[in-house]
């Protein structure tokens, strides 16, 4: 039973669930309820159910590709669990997401239902948007940013304002700039199985240029639409953008999978830092924090983001070698040992 629970936690992929939780919290803060822990907890139940459903669909559809791209690193492709169990997890989590959203508002039910349908269409045939290059890069971020952000908004109030949607557009553009880079890791299997990702179609340089455009547009939109923008936030965001663009230049010229992984992980840290800074800004301004204390926190968060991104770019991610599963698990040893590390990585697709 405990092993099964750990499996479910690994399926949700901690890094991804934290990112989606930050989008949810940002939506809640945008609706002036950033400090409401109860509302956040209720919204997170919906988001967790939605993510589990999405991951179950994706892993079921990509089992063969994962054997090439991520040998032994996905529970299903590693043989740690069966397809029937994955189908059950997907159905139950989808029902839980819908039921939990019904306890919020009817608008939340519509967002959740639309998210589940799009997520299934992204991975499953005959729709299978994942194989359609640019469309995949547009649809997946819509699910992973739009659903949690709007659930956060609708947990607090029953309508969206134009500035909410503009802020969502900024977050969405930034996320497209990051999600395009996940295909670097998967390029071999994607090409092998005819998955026409943006990278496979247009190559490394154009992918990095497009990502840089999305980063720039996203940060400009975020700064232009944020409530009560400040000089401190603008300065830190400018630093984040400069860092991301510099890392993208390095990625365009990088050689070797390990180097690419370091740079992409560093870019992802800056991206999550941007979301965290926005959430902190909205929470502090709503709480009426004095200017100097606000500027100090924003500055410290900027330094933390820069430091961790720099460390990641130089040294790369740490890898866990402990297995979350018992030795009796019916899978290759490589698979058991790698799943913990991969669950932190949290790539979907």
């Amino acid at each position: 039973m405990i092993q099964r629970l750990r499996l479910i936690i690994l399926i949700t992929r901690p890094a991804v669930i934290v990112l989606l939780a930050m989008f949810t919290a940002t939506g809640l803060a945008q609706a002036d309820h950033g400090r409401s822990q109860t509302l956040l907890a209720r919204a997170l139940v919906v988001v967790c159910g939605f993510l589990l459903f999405s991951v179950a669909c994706n892993d079921l559809a990509d089992e063969a590709i994962d054997r090439v791209n991520l040998p032994g690193r996905r529970p299903l492709s590693a043989g740690l669990t069966g397809r029937t169990e994955f189908v059950a997890i997907g159905i139950v989590s989808g029902v839980v997401a819908l039921a939990a959203s019904a306890t919020l508002r009817w608008q939340a039910v519509i967002v959740t239902a639309a998210g589940l349908v799009i997520s299934a269409g992204y991975s499953l045939r005959p729709v299978r948007l994942a194989d359609r290059g640019a469309i995949a890069a547009i649809v997946l971020p819509a699910c992973y940013v739009g659903v949690p952000y709007l659930i956060g908004i609708f947990a607090a109030r029953g309508f969206v304002r134009s500035d909410d949607l503009l802020q969502l557009a900024g977050l969405y553009l930034g996320f497209i700039g990051r999600i395009l880079l996940k295909d670097f890791r998967d390029v071999r299997g994607d090409a092998l199985f005819g998955k026409r990702t943006f990278l496979v179609r247009h190559g490394r340089r154009r992918t990095c240029v497009f990502s840089a455009c999305c980063w720039t547009a996203g940060l400009i939109v975020l700064l232009a639409t944020v409530h009560r923008p400040t000089v401190a936030l603008a300065v830190v965001y400018a630093g984040c953008l400069a860092g991301a663009l510099w890392l993208l230049c390095r990625l365009a010229a990088a050689q070797g999978g390990r180097r690419e992984e370091c740079l992409i992980a560093a870019i992802a840290i800056i991206g999550r830092g941007v979301v965290l800074l926005l959430f902190a800004h909205l929470s502090m301004t709503a709480s009426g924090w004095p200017g100097w204390r606000y500027a100090l926190v924003i500055g410290v968060l900027g330094v933390l983001t820069a430091g961790m991104a720099s460390s990641m770019a130089r040294h790369g991610p740490i890898t866990r070698i402990t297995s979350p599963f018992g030795l009796s698990a019916a899978a290759a040893p490589y698979g058991r040992d790698c799943i913990a590390a991969d669950s932190q990585g949290g790539a979907i697709g």
Binding site: Q37, I269, G307, R314, G346
Partner: protein, 61 residues
Amino acid sequence: MLAGVDINGRNREQPGGPVPQRAVWTIAGIFVAVVLSIFGLVVVGCAVMLYVGLSHYASNK
């Protein structure tokens, strides 16, 4: 001497960087999270803690 191993047999190319360097960012993040929580922003504090904790691992999002 083996490539990637220093004179004391330690791995010079430790994934994720030297432990003290990682620890500095982790401690700094925990400090910021605690300060934010003390001043009433518990949710932001938790977000900072999770952000720092997971930033040592590979992620492409």
